[in-house]
């Protein structure tokens, strides 16, 4: 056996666990759900398997008010939580990157909340958002502001977006790692040229940080479009479907109403939407991301 062939078999042998897992747990499910998405497949009737109905599921989706509602909800949340999360975490990272005392302490405190399991943070915020006994309304009362119905129809979405900022610690650490890569020579050069702190931020730091910003953006897009745990626990999609997220709709169709065909169509649309926004991010990256 020649060298190249031997290496080929060796390589495949080493990556085979992933290859098998990829086929069984990712490739087949995705292809299968594409097939199911063209089928009437209700698990309520155990004797009838998937039954081909062509594009009917997708046609039905277009007229499903709940589909649009959950899609708009998810986009609304993304429009608030995505930019806010990226900006706030960048701000924290810039503050932490300064050469000051107690930096390690501040960094630990900022990072800690991102470690809290989603279930526990949902419980705490549910308690703090509580209308009558919650901490937030008490604090508002202290400064003579009227109480807010935090998880009511109008404020529930902004409240969830606000809450998401509690967990930005992960992103902050990634930004910090990027900031430590900025060559000090560049700062010195900018300083000699008489650039002030703001000028240095926008002309040196941010351009060099753009690959990291881009990475965080793509990760945030993927995570935001598959959000489920926190709203599922805190609001169950309510009130009046104000926080009914796309993934929740998908979950309900599949495991509550057992409409597997319909749910598969939803999964595929989610895949396409995520790909679409990621592709936009990648496409726009050519204009604003600087690689050395």
């Amino acid at each position: 056996m020649n060298h190249e062939r031997r290496n080929f078999f060796k390589g495949i042998a080493f990556v085979s666990p992933w290859l098998i897992g990829f086929i069984v747990f990712t490739a087949v499910p995705i292809v299968l759900s594409l097939y199911y998405s063209f089928c009437d497949y209700a698990l309520t009737n155990p004797h009838r398997g998937p039954y081909w109905i062509g594009l009917d599921n997708y046609r039905q989706l277009l007229h499903d008010a709940l589909f649009w509602k959950s899609l708009v909800n998810t986009l609304y949340y993304a429009a608030m939580a995505l930019p806010a999360g990226l900006l706030v975490s960048l701000g924290f990272a810039l503050m932490l990157n300064a050469d000051i005392r107690g930096q390690a302490f501040y960094r630990t405190i900022i990072f800690l909340p991102s470690l809290i399991p989603a279930i526990a943070s949902a419980m705490v915020w549910l308690w703090m958002f509580n209308g009558r006994l919650g901490l937030f309304n008490y604090l508002l009362g202290k400064v003579h502001l009227p109480p807010v119905n935090w998880l009511g129809e109008r404020w529930a979405m902004p409240s969830l977006a606000l809450m998401s900022l509690w967990g930005v610690g992960n992103t902050v650490v990634i930004y910090l790692a990027g900031l430590q890569d900025v060559p000090t020579a560049l700062y010195e050069a900018a300083h000699i040229d008489g650039a002030g702190p703001f000028r240095r931020l926008f002309a040196v730091t941010i351009p060099i940080l753009t690959p990291v910003i881009f990475f965080n953006l793509v990760m945030a897009i993927i995570a935001t479009f598959s959000i489920l745990t926190v709203p599922y626990i805190m609001t169950q999609g309510g009130p009046n479907n104000a926080t009914y997220f796309y993934t929740m709709f998908n979950y309900d169709q599949a495991f509550r109403f057992l409409h597997m065909g319909y749910a598969s169509a939803l999964a595929w649309i989610q895949l396409l939407i995520t790909l679409f926004f990621t592709a936009i991010a990648f496409w726009s990256a050519r204009k604003w991301v600087h690689y050395e």
């Binding site: 747990f25 087949v28 199911y36 107690g102 930004y175 793509v218």
Partner: protein, 293 residues
């Protein structure tokens, strides 16, 4: 910048960071404070920040509460976590070795596909995964009888078995680490007659311990924090993980026994926080590596 200007800006920075930290720590303190209150104290207005009298017995109560079986849920979660961590570390390092140290045709494409799968979130595959497991169960039951060792649904296997086939994210992490190990080391071993598996086990793995720690840590946290996975694959209450158990508990007592609910939440946070303080460096290094470096 002159000395005075520097002092003023440092002062502003400290003030800003202190405000940020106070805001971020508040939910923690509130959770802790509530978890130590008596039930009447939770409904007091104005609320008191320091419980008086304080009631640490709440932490005992959640272990004996009829609606929350802390020990059982912890056991279940730890079992799934242990099996996931072991599987992830073993298989991800094997696969990462293949991607990092063996030149074979098709590697580039396979690696690109693997990176792509990081971007596929669980909700997209969950429906068909459930169907595939059901299909496997029907067929294994026909051969081996019902309730055989290959049974998937109704057991913990759907949650930990996939980990034994490597996880794309961790493979990537380990591969990034493996390629930094000097080639000369493997070459020397090869000349000494060491097989590829021998190089992997005796040279690469011992050197990769810090990276393996990162992978073990992250996969443990992944299981500990997971909610959707158990929600889809676990039905029977005696198989609940802590996350599912806490959610069920909240559905039962939510709106009343906030002190117990907060005690249970603290309990869920403790292992994570403990791990963090024991392995801070591992955490920070791991997260920094993921940021595309």
């Amino acid at each position: 910048m002159n000395k005075r200007g520097r002092l003023v800006s440092a002062l502003f920075l400290h003030a800003g960071l202190l405000c940020v930290c106070a805001g971020l720590i508040l939910p923690f303190l509130w959770m802790l404070s509530t978890s130590l209150k008596t039930l009447p104290q939770t409904t007091e207005t104005p609320p008191r920040f320091l419980p008086h009298p304080w009631q640490p017995q709440n932490y005992g109560a959640i272990f004996t509460h009829p609606n929350f079986h802390a020990l059982l849920y912890t056991r279940n979660t730890l079992l799934i976590a242990a099996l996931t961590v072991i599987g992830t570390v073993i298989s991800s390092s094997i696969v990462a070795y293949g991607f990092a140290r063996i030149a074979f045709r098709g590697k580039g494409i396979l690696f690109a596909i693997m990176l792509g799968t990081i971007m596929i979130p669980f909700p997209i595959t969950m429906v068909s995964l459930f169907r595939i497991f059901r299909w496997m169960d029907v067929h294994t039951a026909a051969w081996l009888g019902a309730g055989n060792f290959l049974q998937m649904l109704g057991t913990f296997k759907p949650l930990w078995l996939p980990a034994w086939f490597g996880s794309a994210f961790n493979i990537f992490l380990l591969r990034q680490f493996f390629i930094t190990i000097p080639r000369e080391l493997s070459e020397a071993a090869r000349i000494d007659g060491c097989s590829e598996l021998g190089i992997f086990l005796r040279i690469i793995l011992p050197l990769a311990r810090p990276a393996l720690a990162v992978v073990a840590l992250f996969s443990f946290l992944g299981v500990w924090n997971d909610f959707l996975g158990p929600l889809v694959f676990i039905q029977r209450p005696n198989q609940y993980t802590l996350a599912l158990g806490l959610e069920a508990f909240q559905n039962r007592v939510g709106g009343s026994e906030w002190n117990l609910l907060m005690a249970a939440s603290v309990l869920v946070c403790v292992p994570t926080l403990l791990l963090f303080f024991l392995a801070q460096r591992t955490f920070i290094r791991g997260i920094a590596t993921t940021g595309g470096k």
